[in-house]
């Protein structure tokens, strides 16, 4: 673990990613303290609406006279929590199915892998759009639906690891000692298969945040007037050539956050891959 920490500090890209992610976390956690205004407080007077960044409103105001900085800070909460809950759902489904498929093999494996292939055939974004159009827009549904549609890649990764790990001597030894299947799979093999899972989690977090922004942009995610980065951009597009801050600031925040998760994911992949070790 100490080695890993050193590797992270050595790798500039990963370090950058970790710092940005930590920063966003702190912002989300302390949103009520950091916000300078009530993110929902309307002010419809003409000299408050669509004001550029100033000392009073450091990120400017939106078309309803709300303080953009405060909305961004609260929006970070939404974006990060959607990412984490969706990925948690993905993790539970993806790892369980991957373990079962990889450990038992044979027809169980065939069944699960065909299920994975069927899921992968659907264009995910449109599947989500369709489901949300039926259920009605809601942030809870967004988390669940993203989680339920994004586990296929992880299942394949875990299964591939298991296919080779279950033939290792320690696994066979555990079996010879009479350990139950559950114990062998989750206590003995899974810990050795975690490296690609970590990488997948970080990459998926970035993906989930991006997806949430996209859905909120289309009006299917977080409902107005609750702020989320996606729906702030959605409002901002009406004013794209006169109030740049409404699109540029949330746009950059999404870019930075998602990029950081990808950098960390890629970095972890390199660090955790034994073949890449010097």
């Amino acid at each position: 673990m100490n080695d890993m920490f050193k590797e992270i500090v050595k790798n500039k890209q990963v370090l950058f990613g970790v710092v940005v992610i930590l920063f966003m976390f702190i912002v989300a956690l302390f949103a009520p303290v950091l916000a300078t205004h009530d993110p929902l407080e309307l002010d419809l007077s003409a000299d408050v609406r669509l004001q550029p960044p100033s000392a009073e409103h450091i990120f400017g105001t939106d078309d309803m006279g709300r303080d953009l900085f405060s909305r961004m800070v609260y929006g970070a909460r939404i974006s990060l929590s959607v990412g984490f809950i969706a990925v948690a759902i993905m993790l539970v489904i993806g790892v369980t199915l991957g373990v079962i498929a990889g450990y038992y093999g044979k027809w169980v494996d065939t069944l699960i892998m065909r299920l994975v292939e069927i899921m992968m055939c659907f264009p995910r974004f449109y599947l989500i759009l369709m489901i949300l159009a039926f259920l009605g827009p809601s942030i809870i549904y967004v988390m669940i639906v993203i989680g339920l549609t994004s586990w296929t890649g992880l299942t394949r990764l875990v299964r591939a690891e298991f296919l080779s790990l279950r033939e290792r001597e320690y696994a066979i030894a555990a079996k010879a000692l009479g350990a139950s299947d559950m114990r062998i799979a989750f206590r003995h093999i899974l810990p050795n298969a975690l490296a690609p899972v970590f990488v997948s989690i970080t990459l998926s977090l970035g993906g989930a945040i991006l997806l949430e922004s996209g859905l909120s942009f289309l009006g299917l995610g977080v409902q107005i007037p609750t702020p989320s980065w996606g729906n702030i951009i959605s409002t901002g597009r009406f004013y794209i050539d006169s109030a740049w801050w409404l699109t540029v600031i949330p746009g950059l925040s999404i870019l930075l956050t998602v990029l950081s998760f990808y950098l960390v994911g890629e970095g972890l992949r390199v660090i955790l891959d034994p073949r890449m070790k010097r």
Binding site: L44, A133, G219, I224, F238
Partner: protein
Amino acid sequence: MNRNKPGNPHSKIPVKPLLIIAAFIFLCLAASAFAGYFGDAYVTGSIADAVSLIPFLSTDSSSHSITGMIFNGLTKFDKNLNIIGDLAERWDVSEDGKEITFYLRKNVRWHDGMPLTTRDIKFTFEAILDPKNACPYVSSYRDIQSVDIIDDYTVKFTYSQPYAPALSKLGIEIVPEHILKGEDLRTSKFKRDPLGCGAYILEKWKSDQYLILNSNHDYFEHRPYIDKYVMRVIPDLAVQFLELATGGIDTMGLTAYQYFYRTASEKFKSKFNTYTYLSRAYAYVGYNLEDPLFSDKRVRKALSYAINKKEIIDGVLLGMGEPCTGPFFKETPYYSKKAEQYKYDKERALELLGEAGWRDSDGDGILDKDGAPFKFKLITNQGNKDREDIATIVQREWQELGVDVEIQIIAWAAFLKEYVDKKNFQAVILGWSLPMDPDCFVVWHSSSAVEGGLNFISFKNEEVDALIEEGRRTFDVYERIRIYNRIHEIIAEEAPYTFLYFPYARVAISNRFKGIEPAPAGIGYNFVDWYVDPGEVRY
């Protein structure tokens, strides 16, 4: 050529002025014969694609904007909103008001060259009345007892009882009998491939992308000057504006913000003319009267008093609207000036809620009654930023009373099918565009409060029902004004809707189009007379 120019060697020749006068007279004559030049295309943007081009079966405004170009009706409204003949040259109404005889124009041909006759008229109205076709407008035609052909160009409508809106309702577009006879209209390919007798002919329809119409050279009024009418489907007003600015479309309805802040530049002014006029449409918040929360009139009135219409007009439309108090168009006498206005009054709202039993007894800032908090969902459709903004403001205003409102924005198709048609909502923000005749049977009569009907808030009032029926039977204009004023006042008192505003339409049109004459009917009524000078033709 100026003959007064000093030193002009020809200035003394007396023939010249005569020639100039002759040329002037010739030009004047020419101008009266050719008001414009042929050519070019008019490209519009539409938020949604058309659905069906069978005029009396479609209910969406995109389809109607296209069928209006392809088909004509017996009557139409002129620029001052008087009823005039369209396919009909003239008509007689019998003494008792039950029989109307139309005399058709004799020079009208369908796009395939067949003459338009009374058989087409009879066929169209029988199709509207045929229950199999489930025409959504059928309630406006139910009183038609028979349509009798007298000869090829004379047709008599007989009503079972006098029906005042008849002449305007009979303006619905006519379809060709010789193409549609024996077809099942609900499944006919005619809805994608229509054949009309109007100014334009459908050339191509690519779903969700564009519709192209070509001008009908044999149109009975005259050949339209603009050769092509194109409707591009651009489902976002921000994108439409970018297309407008870069010449991708020639016209759009601007948002208030676009109108105030994006059209002021010299560059924009040099390319576009903008027209504003009060829309025949209003926005409202509707309460589902079947929901126990809204069954108490005092609650609905309180919610209405808590909405500051001026703040909404300023906030959403930047002032470009007129407050609305009832379901008739403000610029007609049917709109009552005596109806309850619901001027913003928070104290009165709280008082009414208190009378209805809603008090904040547990001190959590939210009103409650019998232990249940005052809480409901407010829905509206996606893609209409004005309505989203209304929702945001109204939510804040009701919150100040202690009412907890959750907003939900739902995609249009699901919004209509799953929520509005099935009455599966508590409160809704929507708008109505108003027909020329004040008859409001389909929205306010209790018999329209069925699933899929337009009275989806389930407003049922016996007095209003009786007045609506009386209004349909009354021809005397002053009597009708009295009836509709009364309907307006009752509905305002009952507060099933909070009526919000009539917005001003803000239309930008490329200034290469000439011949546009804004009038009470708007601007589109004389489209066949619009033209583009030869030097400015773009397409």
